[in-house]
Each structure stands twice: as structure tokens, then as C-alpha cells.
């Protein structure tokens, strides 16, 4: 007999949710086009749109990494699937988003279900390595798509349309589409995390054995979270393809997966608005540094190392409990 109380008793107190922080963040973001019309350079709009697209992907990763404690190192594959489905459909002359989106969600769900079923049989470091390997598999598949640009990528002839309208074509309206999607995903994941499902997922991070004994099927719950996470990341891929009007295997590279993890950690693991702040900060840092020198990674790499060594990033115990020495 499972009751709500069981899950509550198992879960450690959740990090205090601060919807206020998120609301302030969204209001500030929504005001950006206004600032642009008052004289802020227009490329800010492009940069922040891109940052918000990655924030959606980082949010989705935070659901499994922050809440579930599953360090997935192949998350960029889902962005890539979303981008490629969009790109291939447009190339074949079909721009309708209402056809592309269900296809993306379905494909991401299938890919997540299959790779998740294999990856989740393992724990700790093996899970990291296997998700990385599956990410590479998707990457090589994209490289082999010679009909759609192969290694060079694919330039899109057009942007997606929505029932014949073109909300993705104009910079400001596209900005609001992305902002709306980000807010929607934030709300959705917040609801999931606060639900009983979310509490069990979090409890399984702390002590999977205990949750299993309580009568929950931990493997199934993690797999469902993994699938939801992959679908949301696929959505960000759709937006990314529409922003850049270009898709390439680089969208699925393992460096990109690593960057997503860093965005989540940078903002604070398990805090959803943290993932958004992390993505925004990351993209800004990249922008500033890459304008400064083409060898910006020489500075950025050590920054990551120092960040990990000297800030605890709210990481304590996530993997320690899951992937510890005896994997108990």
C-alpha cells in the first residue's frame, strides 16, 4: 500500500522553490525587446534567444541530473534529433511545425526509451560512459546522412511555419516564442518535480534501495524521467534549427553534451531556475571570451576546472550516493 506519505518521508526536504526568482527572470527577459527598441544593440536579442534555447535543454537535463542524480553525457543527441527532423522536413518541402513537432517528440521518446533502457541497467560511471557512447552513435549517424549534408551540415532553405503563419521568421516574435516555450517547460518540469513522481525520483537519488523496498519501481520511474527529459531537449533542437537556419552533426557533439552539464552545474544542480541562469551565464561568457580571442577555450577550460575545484556547486552527495565505491 503506497501512500503519499511514503514518498514524502523518503525524500529529503526539497531545495526551497523560489518561483519569485523565476518570475523576475522571465519578466526581465520579456522586457528585452523593449530595451532593444530603446537602443540596445539588436544582436543582444539573437544572443539571448540562443541562450534561452540552451536553457530549455539545460532545464530538461536538470530533471534527470539534478533531481534524478543521473549524469547523462549524451544529452546533445536529443537537441540534434530535434534539429535534424526540423531540417530534413524543411529540406523535403514540409515547413509545418505541427507536423515536425510530433515527429520530434516521438523520435526523441523512442531514442530515449531504447538508449535509456540499456543505460539505466548500469549505475555511476558506467552510466556516464554509456550515455556518452550513445550520444556519439547519434553523432556518427548524422555524419553519415550524406543526403542531408553529412559532415558539413545542412543549410535550411526556409524556417518552419505554424498553420501557415510565420512566427519564427521575425526576430522579435521568435524571441517571444522561445521565451514562451522556456516558461512553459519551466512550469511543466516544476510541476513534475513537485509531484509524487518527482519526489520518488529525488528519493531514488538519495537511496534507491529504500525506494524500491517501499514498492516503487525505480527503474521505470527513472526511464520515464529520461524520456520526458529527452523530449523537451528535442524541442530545443527544433528552436535551434529555426534560429540558425542550419543543422550539423556538431549539434550532437559530446563537447556540447559536456557544456550542457556545465550549464546545469554552473547554475546549481537541481534548482530549475539555476539551469536557466547557468545557460544564460555560459552563453554570455562564451560570447565575451570568443570576441576577445579565438583561443577562448584556453581561458574557459581552466575556468571550469577552478569552478569545480573551488565551488561546491550544490553537488554534494548526488553521485557519491549513487555511484560510490561499492555501488551500494
Amino acid at each position: 500500500m503506497r501512500t503519499l506519505g511514503d514518498a514524502q518521508a523518503l525524500a529529503l526536504p526539497a531545495r526551497r522553490r523560489r518561483p519569485l526568482t523565476a518570475i523576475v527572470l522571465f519578466v526581465l527577459l520579456a522586457a528585452l525587446p523593449l530595451a532593444v527598441s530603446l537602443g540596445l544593440p539588436a544582436h543582444w536579442l539573437t544572443l539571448v534567444t540562443r541562450a534561452m534555447i540552451f536553457a530549455i535543454a539545460a532545464l530538461s537535463l536538470d530533471l534527470i541530473l539534478g533531481v534524478g542524480g543521473l549524469v547523462s553525457f549524451g544529452h546533445a543527441a536529443f537537441i540534434g534529433i530535434g534539429a535534424y527532423v526540423t531540417g530534413i522536413m524543411i529540406t523535403e518541402g514540409q515547413t509545418e511545425a505541427l507536423l515536425a513537432l510530433p515527429a520530434i517528440l516521438l523520435l526523441c521518446a523512442v531514442f530515449a526509451a531504447v538508449t535509456g533502457a540499456v543505460s539505466l541497467r548500469t549505475r555511476g560511471v558506467a552510466f556516464i560512459m554509456i550515455t556518452l557512447a550513445f550520444g556519439q552513435m547519434a553523432f556518427f549517424l548524422a555524419q553519415a546522412l550524406s543526403a542531408y549534408g553529412g559532415d558539413d551540415g545542412l543549410t535550411l532553405s526556409d524556417r518552419s511555419t505554424l498553420l501557415g503563419f510565420k512566427p519564427f521568421a521575425n526576430r522579435t516574435s521568435f524571441f517571444y516564442v522561445v521565451l514562451g516555450t522556456l516558461a512553459g517547460c519551466y512550469a511543466l518540469i516544476s510541476v513534475i518535480v513537485a509531484s509524487r513522481f518527482g519526489r520518488v525520483l529525488r528519493a531514488a537519488r538519495e537511496n534507491a534501495t529504500r525506494v524500491t523496498v517501499t514498492g516503487y519501481d525505480v527503474g521505470r520511474i527513472r526511464l520515464i524521467a529520461y524520456i520526458i527529459s529527452g523530449m523537451i531537449a528535442g524541442l530545443s533542437g527544433f528552436l535551434l534549427a529555426n534560429q540558425t537556419e542550419f543543422v550539423s552533426p556538431a549539434y550532437m557533439s559530446w563537447q556540447r553534451s559536456g557544456e550542457l552539464i556545465f550549464m546545469v552545474v554552473l547554475g546549481g544542480v537541481g534548482s530549475l531556475h539555476g539551469a536557466i541562469i547557468g545557460a544564460l551565464t555560459y552563453l554570455f561568457a562564451e560570447e565575451v571570451l570568443s570576441h576577445w580571442t579565438e583561443h577562448w577555450r584556453v581561458i574557459f577550460g581552466p575556468m571550469i576546472v577552478l569552478f569545480v575545484l573551488f565551488t561546491r556547486g550544490g553537488l554534494v552527495g548526488i553521485m557519491g550516493k549513487l555511484g560510490g565505491r561499492s555501488d551500494g
Binding site: 541530473l65 549524469v71 553525457f73 538508449t115 533502457a117 540499456v118 541497467r121 548500469t122 555511476g124 560511471v125 558506467a126 556516464i128 560512459m129 554509456i130 556518452l132 557512447a133 550513445f134 556519439q136 552513435m137 556518427f140 549517424l141 555524419q143 553519415a144 546522412l145 550524406s146 543526403a147 559530446w254 563537447q255 559536456g258 552539464i261 556545465f262 552545474v265 544542480v269 583561443h295 577562448w296 577555450r297 584556453v298 574557459f300 577550460g301 581552466p302 575556468m303 571550469i304 576546472v305 569552478f307 569545480v308 575545484l309 556547486g313 553537488l315 554534494v316 552527495g317 548526488i318 553521485m319 557519491g320 555511484g323 565505491r325 561499492s326 555501488d327 551500494g328
Partner: protein, 308 residues
């Protein structure tokens, strides 16, 4: 002449597998003993190759250049251990992954700054430049044979050290239970240093040996690193024997898949679609093999003893 192609490609797969083994062995040792996941391990392979390029051209001798490259790779590895890795052993895997990921970004870019982004190469040494005649009409480069031999010798040496020496005993004990080994009075810090130096040398050696037959370029370590992960996961994490078996499987499957997938598919479909499908399938093949192995045996084929 498919038989001769099969023989040559099998040897190529073997040679590729041996290279992967050299990289994976260090990775799996470091993980087994210190519970440390080092993404920057592939960077050691890349550095080994680049240092070989520099020292071989400086000294004009392949052997001397190789020795110097190994020594330099070891120094860099130890410096990284002292500056970064040492502070990560106690951390969780997520911290280790991120910090070593940052190191990859730094070192890939640093290599570009020092050596440029264009691919470089090392000439095959004079005394190994010929071919060996296997049978009528089948020639195989001597250098690749030497690589297979060197890899097997290193593998044998590694097996001997791990199984037959006192250091090896401590290694195996440390892999099972580092805290207990430390409590019994063994200097665990020193043991970690030795293990780490060992792993670094193996990866550097693999990179330096591969320099004459592969193009030396930034990021070359990343590909090898991920393949080494596949090898370790297939073989069983922390197990040297597993790494060996896994490396041969991955090397052979990948090489043979790339050369025969097309012919195989052409039995079922037209040539152009066979080419397209073959390209996609053969680049995904090892990951499919990995998925199948893990689905049947989540622990890998030969999991290390003493680790649950």
C-alpha cells in the same frame, strides 16, 4: 580477392584494438584503483603523438624521439595530477567529469596554439618501413606488425606486473578496497601516483606509436577516449583482462564492419542505398555491439573481481 582483404583487414582491426587497449588499460586502472573517471586521458594520447612529432624531427631518430616523447608525456601527466586530479579523487563523479572536461578544452586549444590546427605526421622509421609478405600477393606493412608486437608486449608486461609483483598485488588490493590497503600501512598516495603515471605512459605510448600511421591533429584524443570508454564498458570496468578482450572486439568489429558492410548489404539492396546504409550502420556498429552486450550483461563481459 576477398580472402586477402579479409586477412589484411583482420590484422588492421587487431592493430586498432591493440592501440585501444593501451589507452583503455590506463583508464580502467585509474578508475579501478582510485575510482576516478578521467576524461583527460585521451589528451595524454594526443600529447604522446604531438610530442613524438616534435622529438622525432628534433633528434632525427624514431626510437630516441619516442623515448623523449614518453618522458615528456609523463612529466605533463604528473604535473596535471599534482595540479588538478589529486584534488578530485575524493569528489563525486560529476565533479571529476566536469573538471577533466575543462582540461580537455584547455589542452585541445593549447595544442592548436603550439602546433597549429593542420594535421601533422611522423615518418615511419627506416628500419620498419618495408612490408612483410604473408603469402602470395598479400603484403602487410612491417610497422603495423611492430605496433601489434609492441602492444602485445606491453600488454604482457602489464599482466605480469598486475598478477605477479608486489606492486600489482597492491594495485589489485587497492582496486578492491583502497581504504583497507591504506589502513594496512601502504602509502596510498604513492600508489595512486604510480598507477596514474602508468596509465599516462600507456596512453602516451599509444599516441606516439600511432603517430606514423595516423594523422596527428587536435582532438584526436577525444575519439580514442570515447572508444576506450566503449571498450571498458564492454569488457567490464576496472578489469585489465576485460579491457583487452573489449579492445579486440571493438577494434575488429569496427574495422571489419567498415570494410565489409557494403558488400554484405548489397546482397539485399541496390548499390547506392547499400552505400548510404553501410556508411551509417558501420559507424554505429560498435555502439550497437555495446548496447547488446550491456543488455545481456550490464557488468560487462569480464567484470573485475572484488568490485560489485
Amino acid at each position: 580477392m576477398t580472402t586477402s582483404l579479409l586477412i589484411v583487414q583482420t590484422l588492421n582491426g587487431l592493430q586498432f584494438g591493440i592501440l585501444l587497449f593501451l589507452v583503455a588499460a590506463g583508464l580502467t586502472l585509474v578508475f579501478g584503483v582510485m575510482d576516478f573517471i578521467n576524461l583527460a586521458h585521451g589528451v595524454q594520447y594526443m600529447l604522446g603523438a604531438y610530442l613524438a612529432v616534435t622529438f622525432v624531427s628534433l633528434t632525427g631518430s624514431f626510437v630516441l624521439g619516442l623515448v623523449l616523447a614518453l618522458a615528456a608525456a609523463l612529466l605533463i601527466g604528473l604535473a596535471l595530477e599534482f595540479l588538478v586530479f589529486r584534488h578530485l579523487y575524493e569528489r563525486d563523479h560529476l565533479d571529476q567529469v566536469l573538471a577533466t572536461f575543462g582540461l580537455i578544452l584547455l589542452l585541445n586549444q593549447a595544442v592548436k596554439m603550439v602546433w597549429g590546427a593542420a594535421p601533422l605526421s611522423v615518418p615511419v622509421p627506416e628500419f620498419l618501413s618495408g612490408s612483410v609478405r604473408l603469402m602470395d600477393g598479400i603484403l602487410y606493412p612491417t610497422y603495423r606488425f611492430a605496433l601489434i608486437g609492441a602492444g602485445l608486449a606491453v600488454g604482457g608486461l602489464l599482466w605480469f606486473i598486475v598478477e605477479k609483483t608486489r606492486t600489482g598485488m597492491l594495485l589489485r588490493a587497492g582496486a578492491s578496497n583502497a581504504a583497507m590497503v591504506s589502513a594496512l600501512g601502504v602509502d596510498i598516495r604513492k600508489l595512486f601516483m604510480i598507477v596514474f603515471a602508468f596509465g599516462t605512459m600507456l596512453a602516451g605510448f599509444a599516441g606516439a606509436m600511432a603517430a606514423p600511421i595516423l594523422s596527428v591533429e587536435p582532438g584526436m584524443g577525444d575519439t580514442v577516449l570515447i572508444l576506450a570508454f566503449v571498450v571498458i564498458v564492454v569488457g567490464g570496468i576496472g578489469s585489465i583482462r576485460g579491457a583487452f578482450v573489449g579492445a579486440l572486439i571493438v577494434g575488429l568489429v569496427d574495422t571489419l564492419g567498415r570494410s565489409f558492410m557494403n558488400d554484405l548489404l548489397r546482397l539485399f539492396m541496390s548499390a547506392p542505398s547499400a552505400r548510404a546504409t553501410g556508411a551509417a550502420l558501420s559507424s554505429m556498429l560498435i555502439y550497437l555491439v555495446m548496447a547488446i552486450v550491456l543488455f545481456v550483461r550490464p557488468e560487462g563481459l569480464l567484470p573485475a573481481k572484488g568490485r560489485s
